[in-house]
């Protein structure tokens, strides 16, 4: 049944996020293309100003698309579980676990897709900008390749020690952050429905409460590491110290906290759906 739930979740929800991410990509391309046109060098201030606003729009579109997708899925989760649509959802011959997994997997997948597309849009934007600048000024292309070869040397320096581990910790944090983010939304909406007369307000309140608690836990767990790092920085030659040694443990800790929070919120959510469901 989980496969069927995933199929219908996907069919019901792919259009809005695809539209949001499609618009983001179009804005990235258009904002990048302004660098190919003689807009930025125009004497009339209106043209460079419009181009600057387009670049700003791209920046805002990245935030809007990411936030919009999260909000869209939060609203859809609430509607499909606790409004009139819930009458169909909760009369399907599926377990609470299958129901929740169907939604968690779909939401997490879209969180990850959104993250990848946002990164891709940045790459597209800068790719077009670099091409545009290189086409206008041939020395820029040489400078750019020089910069890349210099980066090679930087990667070989002791300063870049632990870069692989840092990348792995970043990927772990992106994955656990996506699951954790999804579970904060689902957990909040489920907790909010316990406030029977004000379910939406309850969900918003629960979101801020859960988010604050997780941030406090992250901070509390990281404190000893921060002190340790501060101590090391005082007694180490900074030029030989890798910045990744600082960030990797922080990302690992955050990943672990997100994972524990996600599991805890899942257990709570399943209990609430199984034992406390009360449709109006």
């Amino acid at each position: 049944m989980l496969g069927k739930l995933l199929k219908h979740e996907w069919k019901a929800h792919w259009k809005v996020p695809t539209l949001l991410l499609g618009v983001l990509m179009i804005i990235a391309v258009v904002a990048g293309l302004t660098f190919l046109m003689p807009i930025w060098d125009s004497e009339w201030i209106g043209l460079p100003l419009s181009a600057m606003m387009l670049v700003m729009l791209f920046y805002m579109a990245m935030i809007a698309a990411s936030f919009g997708i999260v909000l869209y899925f939060a609203v859809r989760y609430y509607k499909s579980m606790f409004t009139d649509e819930g009458y169909l959802t909760h009369t399907l011959p599926v377990t609470a676990r299958e129901l929740l997994f169907g939604k968690i997997i779909t939401m997490t997948a879209w969180n990850l897709i959104a993250g990848i597309v946002v990164l891709l849009s940045i790459a597209v934007f800068f790719g077009i900008v670099i091409l545009a600048l290189a086409s206008k000024d041939s020395s820029f292309a040489f400078d750019f390749f020089d910069f890349l070869s210099e980066m090679k040397e930087v990667f070989a320096s002791p300063y870049m020690e632990g870069f692989g581990g840092f990348c792995a910790s970043m990927i772990a944090m992106a994955l656990t952050g996506s699951v954790g983010g999804t579970m904060i939304i689902i957990g909040s909406v489920n907790l909010g429905q316990m406030v029977r007369k004000h379910r939406i307000l309850g969900a918003i309140g629960a979101y801020f409460a859960i988010y604050s608690v997780i941030q406090i836990i992250v901070f509390a767990v990281m404190m000893p590491f921060i002190f340790k790092m501060a101590f090391q920085m005082e007694h180490t030659d900074m030029s030989e110290m890798s910045v990744f040694g600082v960030y990797t443990p922080i990302y690992v800790i955050m990943s672990v906290v997100y994972l524990i929070a996600a599991v805890g919120l899942y257990i709570l959510s399943e209990y609430l759906i199984r034992r406390q469901l009360e449709l109006e």
Partner: protein, 233 residues
């Protein structure tokens, strides 16, 4: 096992200690059309929601085919709520696919035939349909299942007499002979002719469960008249 549903000491208390059902005991047999009758706020919808697994009982238990409300019971119960409950952006044909995927007892051909009889376009999105047509689509979906128990909450409330006749005809002509139809209403005169049994419910308690024939014989009056006497204000 002759009984389809067994309700034992069922109690449901909502927020602020509002008792919707109190110590309800019921046996619902197979192969009957049963009216769940009572005034507004008597607990009919609460009982139906508990049977359908949309609420959790405060005390007591419900057994459907011997199992508590869950995936097993939901695979044999076909439920029609008293509101429109499908996602409005869905097309009618998507709804057919949805039901066919989740309910093994769903008969798509039967649904398509009924939609065709009513000239309802399968490509239409639900949001483009009138409220009455949406309700008919819902009824068609629910009655296109070969379920063991059809639970219909106020299926004829708020519809015109012609639609009322259509709904009753659909229920009678589509339900499986071995299945039971439990339908709640307070419009008794309209449905009395199709009922085998009635359950009277008042202030969360079952006050009577009997066959329509028995009531007519023993009381010498129609169920509608008797209901008006029992629930006189």
């Amino acid at each position: 096992m002759s009984e389809l549903v067994e309700v034992n000491n069922l109690t449901k208390v909502y927020e602020k200690k509002k008792v919707a059902l109190s110590q309800v005991n019921l046996i619902i047999p197979r192969g009957k059309i049963i009216g769940l009758l009572g005034p507004n706020g008597s607990g009919k919808t609460t009982l139906i929601k508990l049977i359908s697994g949309l609420l959790v009982a405060t005390e007591g238990e419900i057994l459907i085919n011997g199992s508590k409300p869950g995936p097993e019971s939901k695979s044999v119960v076909s439920y029609l709520p008293e509101r429109t409950y499908f996602q409005s952006s869905m097309k009618v044909k998507e709804l057919i696919d949805y039901f066919a995927d989740f309910y093994q007892d769903f008969r798509p051909e039967r649904a398509k035939q009924m939609l065709m009889n009513l000239n309802i376009n399968e490509d239409a999105r639900l949001k483009t349909l009138s409220k009455g047509t949406k309700e008919k689509v819902q009824l068609i979906m629910v009655m296109s299942r070969d379920a063991q128990l059809y639970v219909l909450d106020e299926p004829i409330a708020g519809v015109d007499p012609a639609a009322r006749d259509y709904i009753l005809r659909t229920i009678i002509s589509n339900y499986n002979e071995n299945a039971t139809v439990l339908l709640s209403t307070h419009l008794i005169s309209d449905i009395e002719k199709i009922l085998d049994e009635v359950i009277f419910i008042r202030e969360g308690k079952v006050v009577l469960q009997d066959t329509v024939e028995n009531i007519r014989e023993s009381k010498g009056k129609s169920v509608d008249t008797y209901f008006r006497e029992v629930f006189a204000c």
